[in-house]
């Protein structure tokens, strides 16, 4: 694929325990300005790949490169201004307000002696507005519903004001309407601000609907990658998930839709 990509994984391998590799010599590009979705069966290394891309998980071999330089050799604060990740199951202390949480996203621009820069307030307001959380800004996180809480966390990563946004299973624990709402928000962020988004999703049909680019993993390797039409085929579904299915065009979006048989 020849699309420009600021963020790349080059031949990364990783094993949590000996003889049980999670990622094997894996190389992927995260195309700039697009929505990339990583799919694959449980324990195929989806989350590990995303966490490695965000320098949360060191790799055994290979390199993650951001703008051509190894992410490990760059200043972590500088990286945090280029790349934000929403990890799985993030936690916040009891009583922390939404606005306080979102303001934590400004950390890479702050320090102990510069706790609140001049554009911090406007960036925080902007992030709250983009996620539709402005009216909830003063409520404690623990008082919010699952969907609202996830929006608050996304607002925090938006306040980080990065061009690249990584989301690790952002729809987990959400019901279908809230999953749709959240993914539409992600789509809107991508269209309105041109942010590069890469996320892990469990639901193939949602992945097909919202992704420009899909990376399908199996056993720590890239099985196939490309547009939803290229990746979501009966052949790949059989190979990745051992799933026999027919594929129809989604009547709403025209994207491939998997119907298990």
């Amino acid at each position: 694929m020849d699309h420009p990509a600021r963020l790349k994984a080059q031949d990364i391998s990783l094993a949590f325990a000996k003889n049980t590799p999670v990622l094997r010599d894996l190389s992927v590009d995260i195309p700039d300005g697009k929505i990339t979705v990583i799919i694959g069966p449980n324990a195929c290394g989806k989350s590990t790949l995303l966490r490695s891309l965000a320098r949360l998980q060191p790799t055994d071999t290979g390199e993650i490169k951001l703008d051509g330089t190894s992410i490990r050799r760059q200043n972590s604060r500088a990286v945090a201004r280029q790349l934000a990740i929403l990890p799985q199951n993030p936690t916040a202390p009891e009583g922390l307000s939404v606005r306080d949480l979102v303001s934590r996203g400004r950390t890479p621009y702050q320090s102990a002696l510069r706790q609140y820069g001049h554009d911090d307030a406007s960036k925080i307001d902007e992030a709250l507005a983009m996620t539709g959380m402005s009216h909830n800004a003063h409520r404690p996180i623990d008082a919010l519903s699952g969907g609202q809480r996830q929006r608050a966390w996304i607002a925090m990563t938006l306040a980080q004001d990065t061009e690249i946004l990584l989301l690790d299973e952002p729809t987990t624990f959400l019901d279908l309407p809230h999953q749709m709402e959240l993914l539409k928000l992600v789509q809107q962020l991508n269209t309105d601000t041109g942010r590069t988004v890469a996320m892990v999703l469990h639901d193939i049909n949602l992945a097909a609907r919202f992704a420009h680019h899909i990376i399908a993993l199996k056993d720590g390797r890239v099985l196939v990658e490309g547009t939803p039409d290229e990746v979501i085929t009966t052949a790949t579904m059989a190979e990745i998930f051992d799933l026999s299915c027919t594929i129809i065009a989604d009547p709403v979006s025209g994207t491939p839709h998997v119907i298990p048989t």
Partner: protein
């Protein structure tokens, strides 16, 4: 100066600091309570001092030797040591609790305080002095031991707490054992000190505890920016570009030194480090670590416990008896709350 949602931002050239109104107001109330408690501790006791008389003594305008001895040689050093040790314990407790995201992870629960006490006892047994050095060394070794034993691909707070409780009990027993080699009189003295006592403090104790506290206060203020983010998950902290391991190391070293100096001047006052943080966080609210408020709360709890200890005449109960009386119910309450929420 701009105001946004209960916060005031103070700016000075390119520097900026955020202060919440609630924290500022309640912090002031806490300091006022401290002052009132300190003043009443100075005036009351088996030898009551009228305020005017005490004030004159303080300014050096009194010729009453008894007043001078009582106030300047006994009560003031005792009060100031209580405040300094309590503040050091409170600060240290809040730092560890925030860093490990668990109120049970305070140095007096996870063995750092017992380590400092054991180090102090060993210093006394082996060299006949250097309690401060022994306490610092003992605290550091206990911290290394607990963190090392609980380390498994990173810091595991729950493992650390369980192992810490075990190490704490072991070191307490070791301290008792080490005292067997002391003569009866010193051993009796040490036994009281091991419960935590502020009896017969002098100005050297005051200088030691306040000197270290003053030196470390800027460090903890600097660390509070990070602590205010370390209370999120490890992944979030890293993703925000903060250096997780160096911060944890700095916090651990600072916290252990604070515990060491507190133990050296007041003994391992039980539960002060433990209760200060949760109380301060509830006062300040908003999910903030409330580091400074925890120092003030620790100081207040210790002073009140000492006033209570002094109020019972003749027996000279160690102050630690009363900090335990305050702290143990809080521990049980937190255990119940955490068990119910499943966060234990």
């Amino acid at each position: 100066m701009t105001v946004a949602s209960g916060f005031v931002t103070l700016r000075l050239a390119s520097l900026s600091f955020v202060l919440s109104y609630r924290a500022a107001i309640l912090g002031t109330v806490l300091l006022a309570a401290l002052l009132i408690a300190a003043a009443s501790a100075a005036l009351t006791g088996s030898y009551p001092l009228p305020a005017a008389q005490a004030w004159a003594t303080l300014l050096g305008q009194s010729n009453n030797t008894a007043d001078q001895v009582i106030l300047l040689d006994h009560r003031l050093p005792r009060i100031l040591t209580a405040l300094g040790a309590g503040a050091a314990f409170g600060l240290s407790g809040a730092m560890f609790q925030t860093m490990l995201r668990n109120p049970l992870a305070s140095p007096d629960v996870i063995g750092f305080t017992s380590g400092a006490a054991f180090g102090a006892v060993m210093a006394l047994v082996l060299t006949g002095g250097s309690i401060l050095l022994g306490a610092l060394l003992g605290g550091a070794i206990a911290a290394l031991l607990v963190i090392g034993l609980s380390w498994s691909a990173g810091l595991q707070p729950n493992r650390l707490i369980l192992i810490g409780v075990g190490v704490s009990l072991f070191l307490t027993a070791a301290s008792d054992l080490a005292m067997a080699s002391l003569d009866a009189l010193t051993a009796a003295d040490m036994a009281r000190w091991l419960i935590g006592t502020l009896n017969a403090r002098n100005w050297t104790d005051v200088a030691v505890v306040w000197g270290v506290f003053a030196a470390l206060l800027p460090v903890t203020l600097w660390l509070s920016f990070a602590l205010n983010r370390l209370n999120l998950s490890d992944d979030t902290v890293t993703s925000l570009g903060l250096p997780l391991s160096p911060l944890r190391l700095t916090i651990t070293v600072t916290g252990v030194v604070l515990v060491g100096v507190g133990v050296a001047v007041a003994g391992p006052l039980p539960f002060v480090a433990f209760v200060a943080g949760p109380i301060a966080r509830r006062i300040i609210g908003g999910g903030r670590p409330a580091i400074l408020a925890a120092a003030a709360t620790g100081a207040l709890v210790t002073l009140l416990a000492d006033v209570a200890a002094r109020a019972i005449p003749l027996v000279h109960l160690p102050t630690g008896v009363f900090t335990a009386l305050i702290g143990a119910p809080v521990l049980m309450w937190l255990l119940l709350v955490q068990t119910r929420k499943g966060t234990l």
